[in-house]
Subunit: 130 residues, 2 copies
């Protein structure tokens, strides 16, 4: 937790950029493949480490698919949720103040502390529906 010294390296920058240039969710493996194709020399383990670090710092959102894969996506800071297309992976950032209030109220009622919640909506977007 105590933010050990983190050095900005070529590899980390590459991962961050790859994420920043796409509004969609990507798996670590996809990102790794993409970077290699682009000519960036980077190891798979490093991609995982970079993503983990960014996730710890709150710079990326992480979503788990049903088959246990982790998807990453750069996120504007602030709390929000996602509407994700099963087909193309496109994601829409959504907000729901009502949901936030509801979540805290429910947890309060049951005496839960240190609470966090995940709200993800999966569906098929218009383009992929045909």
């Amino acid at each position: 937790m105590t933010q050990t010294t983190r050095r900005p390296t070529r590899q980390r920058r590459a991962v961050a950029e790859a994420l920043a240039t796409s509004p969609e969710f990507h798996s670590a493996q996809q990102l790794h493949a993409h970077l290699q194709r682009e000519g960036t020399k980077i190891g798979l383990a490093t991609v995982y480490r970079a993503l983990q670090a960014m996730s710890d710092d709150g710079d990326v959102d992480v979503v788990r698919t049903d088959d246990g894969e982790s998807l990453y996506r750069s996120c504007s800071t602030g709390h929000h949720h996602h509407l994700v297309c099963r087909g193309c992976g496109r994601a829409v950032e959504i907000e729901g103040p009502a949901v936030e209030r509801w979540a805290t109220r429910v947890s309060d009622e049951h005496g839960f502390v240190d609470v966090e919640h995940t709200v993800e909506i999966f569906g098929t977007c218009q383009d992929c529906a045909d």
Copy 2:
């Protein structure tokens, strides 16, 4: 998909009972170990199959932990969500009509179809907080 004939076997019953007697979430591996300890002869693969079948039929709830493990819990039928304790795994079933409405509204707005959503709240319950 067309609900092939499903036979109620000794093994399936065992899994169903093990789930029914506990209000907490358990992993497939835990259940398997538990059953074996109890003297029930059952294979791990069978436990997975049974859980999958029950999940398909909507008889159990499935939750994914952060480290990719699936947790199962018998559930009263009907759509609902969970408030899960990180410490002891105890789960409280919660309902939120408001959330349901919000989810469908948001997906409609963005033209998404065939939509499903997951809402899970994780926290620490009173007993585990000390």
